[in-house]
Amino acid sequence: MAEVAYVNASRVYPGSPPVRAVDELKLDVADGEFLVLVGPSGSGKSTALRMLAGLEDVDEGAIEIGGKDVTNVPPKGRDIAMVFQSYALYPHMTVGENMGFALKLRGVSKPDIKAKVAEAAKMLDLEKYLDRKPKALSGGQRQRVAMGRAIVREPSVFLMDEPLSNLDAKLRVETRANIAALQRRLGTTTIYVTHDQVEAMTMGHRVAVLKDGLLQQCDTPRALYETPANAFVAAFIGSPGMNLKTVPLTAAGAQLDGLEVPLPRTTLDKVGADGLKEVTFGVRPESLGLVGAGEDGMELTVELVEELGADAYVYGSVRIADQPERFIVRVDGRTPPALGQTVRVGLRDHSEIHLFNPETGARIEG
């Protein structure tokens, strides 16, 4: 068990100009915490994980595990275990040998290895397969062996690099829950990398969002969803994504087609002080809804309807300043509008909106 800290850690690939794959990452992970690193491809999330594993050099700053600076410690001295996206099982060893390999290298006695492997195998329902080679296993079983290999070592930190991305959708959801439950039970500090924001939101105690090597925000899933620190996080977290439009400001608020969204005085003052003529206005699909002809709203031409059963998502365009702008609206799944129909869309609650600076993307607190 141990806490983990990135102390302004950077990974810089040489070149002209040099690529800062991870740029002054500052992040503290508490003992026993499940932290998810999430971001699009190329955001530096895997590099950050590999720096912690010791597989990637730390060019600036430091990395600490359990309060000790491990920046220059090789992987084997860091007391970590890692689950790879490809699982990286040793093809020439059986499942049992794969799981016991690290213990064998540490000089643990044979009966002890056997007992620990058996225990982990039982936990993961792998007892029947201990004598098989990895190639004789299904994808899900291989994934469990990779988990087992990490568990058997009883490390102070688990590192997981997209461990579910090679599973089919159904198995992925199931395994997602199993991993989260396992982590809660073992209480081992876990750093988990994924590009899938649903995984991030459902599994982590806290989620760190990265983009271009820079940490955007690190907070609980709920806080990320409700108060995204910038437009990138707002768009990245949530599915389907938040509607984000840059719109002109009026004296009272933001102007969207026929819909004028009134903004609190304090917000307007702040925006005015920054000298902004426009704001990036964000609203999640579930904060929009169909309204009657007399109410405040925008005219939305329906282009696509995704019916999910309980809900339906309506994709359509609204003309703002004579430009068609796409909006996504969540509606009741039982009575979705038809394709080509024009519907009136309004805000459910004037507090469920987000404003961002159109130049910097930063959140404007209301």
Partner: protein, 300 residues
């Protein structure tokens, strides 16, 4: 596509059994296919077969103008050769075996370590290494005999088997390293990294994970190194002492040929005896050859 570690082995098997064309074909096409392959196989095998046939004949019958398949055939030639009547055949054989095995072991070791470094680490000088693997193969070794002789003399290895082994290694290592580098490239790096995290040093990752997973590549390398040493004549005659007992088979037979131009039967028998170990080594590695060679050349 996933870089599944277990799929390495799977692709090896697929490399042998993957069908790519139509499974059904007409009787005529089938006849043509088997006919062409049979003719090619006959051409490939015939010279060896003919040497074997000749090796059973007495010397006089082996040089008749109308050869027949069997003509007073017996295993007498083999008995004579093995009994040492035509030179110290058994000591030649032992010398060749020691030299070839040493060459194989040392070449595989040298080329595998170098190939692994080039495959995995981007160290300064890496491109130079890759290029020199290719360049060294261009060297006309046959004309480097005098300088090589001088260097071996300087090192105190002139006239020893070990000196000859080192010379063979220099001719085998570049190709072997080239091939093995390609093979190592097909093993996912994740395997190395998993090993590092499980507690292996970079050297033991190579020794305990990558090498056991590279059997086809290593088999090809070993085969190539073995053949390089087993059949070589020019260096062996220049660098080994002239006494009959220290010759290799290739040198001994060469002398035999020059001195006994008419003893075709005995020559053939000796040749077959020399070929047997090479063919055995070949048979042991042949199932790895396709996978081993291909990845080497594909990625080379």
């Amino acid at each position: 596509m996933s870089l599944d570690a277990a799929s390495i082995k799977a692709t090896e098997n697929a490399a042998i059994a993957k069908p790519t064309g139509h499974v059904k074909r007409s009787r005529l096409a089938s006849f043509g296919l088997h006919g062409a392959l049979t003719v090619a196989s006959l051409i490939a095998v015939f010279p060896v077969f003919w040497v074997f046939i000749t090796s059973l004949k007495p010397d006089a019958k082996a040089a008749e103008t109308t050869p027949t398949l069997f003509n007073e055939s017996s295993f007498d030639n083999y008995a004579n050769v093995l009994a040492g009547e035509k030179g110290a055949f058994l000591s030649w054989f032992a010398n060749s075996a020691v030299i070839a095995i040493l060459t194989t072991v040392i070449s595989v070791f040298l080329s595998a370590t170098a190939a692994y470094a080039v495959s995995r680490f981007r160290f300064p000088g890496y491109r130079g290494m890759m290029l020199s693997f290719l360049l060294i193969q261009m060297f006309p070794f046959a004309v480097l005999i005098v300088p090589l002789y001088n260097i071996l003399l300087m090192l105190g290895l002139q006239g020893t088997s070990f000196g000859l082994v080192l010379v063979y290694c220099t001719t085998a290592v570049p190709f072997c390293a080239y091939m093995l580098k390609g093979y190592f490239d097909t093993i996912p790096r994740d395997i190395d990294e998993a090993g590092r995290i499980d507690g292996l040093s970079p050297f033991s990752v190579f020794w305990r994970l990558v090498l056991p997973l590279s059997k086809p590549g290593v088999a090809v390398t070993a085969f190539y190194a073995f053949l390089t040493a087993w059949g070589e004549v020019a260096f062996a005659s220049a660098f080994l002492s002239a006494s009959d007992e220290s010759k290799t088979l290739a040198v001994g037979l060469q002398v035999f040929v020059q001195q006994n131009r008419t003893e075709w039967g005995h020559l053939a028998a000796a040749s077959i005896l020399v070929a047997i170990p090479a063919v055995i080594v070949f048979y042991l590695v042949q199932k790895f050859l396709v996978a081993g060679l291909a990845s080497g050349a594909v990625k080379g």
